[in-house]
């Protein structure tokens, strides 16, 4: 339990650093650390597959692309867009609503019973695969075809078009 609280503290600490860091590249690096703590959370929940997929996909691929883009566009103070007054008001309003939601959820602390999983090994690859390929076969296959077609489409866009013959 103490491990959970420590990791949860780190998650929140790093996520605050993400939004408070002045340099966008530093923000991304803190975001990477935040995702790393999420991976540890998954391991604590015995969801090994989810943990490693979070590690590979989010930390290893998506955030590398974030970092890649940020390094290229080179944001700094001079090029930072000044936000209009209305956006600032909207931001304060949205943040206030979130604060109210969090405060009201604090009231419910301790009210929910801990959920006991019938099968604690549910997160292992074998069990996850059985569930995915038995109960959710169609949605699983459709989403994988969707991802594959997105990738094939990207490759197709990148291939050179044949130049039309000069008239």
């Amino acid at each position: 339990m103490s491990t959970f609280y420590f990791i949860a503290f780190l998650s929140i600490f790093f996520s605050i650093l993400v939004i408070s860091a002045k340099n966008p590249v530093h923000s991304i690096l803190y975001l990477i650390l935040t995702f790393f703590t999420f991976t540890i959370h998954y391991i604590l929940l015995n969801a090994q597959f989810l943990a490693i997929v979070n590690f590979i996909v989010y930390m290893g691929a998506i955030l590398v692309l974030f970092l890649y883009t940020l390094m290229l566009i080179n944001l700094n103070k001079e090029s930072e867009p000044v936000k209009p007054f209305m956006v600032k008001v909207a931001g304060v309003f949205g943040g206030g609503i979130l604060a109210v939601a969090v405060a009201s959820s604090l009231k419910l602390i301790g009210a929910s019973n801990p959920v006991l999983l019938q099968n604690p090994d549910l997160g292992l690859v074998k069990n996850l695969g059985k569930v995915l390929f038995n109960e959710f076969l169609l949605p699983f296959e459709v989403s994988s075809v969707l991802l594959l077609s997105a990738m094939v489409g990207a490759v197709l866009l990148a291939t050179k078009e044949k130049e039309p013959k000069a008239a």
Binding site: V25, L29, I32, Q48, F49, I52, V53, F55, I56, M59, G60, A61, V64, L65, L67, Y68, M71, L72, L124, V125, K126, L148, M151, V155, A158, T159
Partner: protein, 343 residues
């Protein structure tokens, strides 16, 4: 976990770290000797007999050189870059089965630090993390050439990770497990996976070259275009860490390739040998066999480096996206069809 088991694991971790570092150190020597052989030269021959003390001299030089941190570099991240590179290079060895179990005084010990049931994915995760060392170092240097090198490294790694993952999927369809130990055990004797997955192995090999930034995929440090690439601004041991990380990566990816495709610690007629010599010598011979495979693979890395010229950047991307990925998908389909028909 028992105390003896714990002690054995700690010893094993230390031994594996030491071996990876020594292998990486002597890979630098081997690389220069191999290069000399291919170019009909002698190579390093001054420090000690046949120059075998050369890596020690190089290491001493790296440690004693002046430490330079450029004025405009981001100080902390400039140090984090090489540290991360060497860290991610070292932690990959944790899931590799170095041999079958050996028995000492009634206890059986697995020659593997930990057998997590997502071992293959762990290796994959560590590989994908490796790019951060290069990217952070290249960005923190505050130098355009370093940044370009880092960006090349990032795009190259991401592109080749996809075909690497797809080539492994075909293998996993045959093995039915993600644990490296079980994959190694399945290849008992001479039933190596490479006979069943030749195309998958070739794809994996090409991607391993790209992921370790070895020639002909060493564009991140292409000196004709980028001075020194991502480590242009580095000096002293921080540069040494980057170079060292590359050799450790080569060692680990050779070990992974040997385990996944070339049977790991298995060798033909191992049952006959075990019956003749007893289980422990057979297990130790298995470790020797595994290291033989690894060393040949490292030699192959060097062989290619001193034979094939570097790709151009667009050729690199073309190869990754238009050749390797379609081939890997075709390999998955073929594997699926054939394994269903043969069932």
């Amino acid at each position: 976990m028992e105390t003896t088991d714990l002690i054995f694991r700690i010893v094993l971790i230390v031994v594996i770290f030491a071996i990876s570092l020594v292998v990486a150190m002597y890979s630098t020597y081997a690389e220069r000797k191999v290069a000399a052989f291919f170019q009909d030269r002698i190579g390093p021959n001054r420090a000690g007999p046949w120059g075998i003390l050369q890596p020690l001299a190089d290491g001493g030089k790296m440690f004693l050189k002046e430490e330079i941190i450029p004025t405009n570099a981001t100080g902390f991240l400039f140090i984090v870059g090489p540290s991360l590179a060497i860290l991610t290079a070292c932690i990959g060895s944790a899931v590799i089965p170095w041999g079958s179990a050996i028995a000492i005084g009634g206890h059986t010990f697995d020659l593997q630090v930990t057998d997590i049931n997502v071992g293959v994915l762990y290796i994959f995760g560590v590989v994908s993390l490796g790019v951060y060392g290069i990217m952070i170092g290249g960005w923190a240097s505050n130098n355009k050439y370093s940044l370009l090198g880092a960006i090349r490294a990032a795009s190259q790694n991401i592109s080749y990770e996809i075909s690497m993952g797809l080539s492994i999927i075909a293998l996993l369809m045959l093995t039915g497990t993600l644990s490296l130990k079980e994959i190694a055990e399945q290849q008992h004797g001479f039933a190596w996976n490479v006979w069943r997955q030749p195309l998958g192995f070739i794809l994996f090999l090409v991607c391993a070259f790209a992921e370790t930034n070895r020639s002909p995929f060493d564009l991140p440090e292409c000196e004709t275009e980028l001075v020194g690439g991502y480590h242009t601004e580095y000096s002293s041991m921080k540069l040494g860490f980057y170079l060292f990380a590359e050799y450790i990566n080569m060692f680990i990816s050779s070990a992974v390739m040997a385990t996944l495709y070339w049977g790991g610690y298995n060798y033909p007629f191992m049952d006959n040998f075990a019956a003749w010599a007893g289980p422990n010598p057979a297990a130790i011979f298995g470790v020797v066999v595994l290291f033989g495979k690894i060393f040949f693979s490292i030699f192959f890395f060097m062989w290619v480096r001193w034979t094939i010229p570097r790709f151009r950047y667009d050729q690199l991307m073309d190869l990754g996206w238009k050749i390797l990925i379609p081939l890997a998908i075709a390999n998955i389909v073929l594997t699926g069809v054939i394994s269903t028909l043969l069932k």
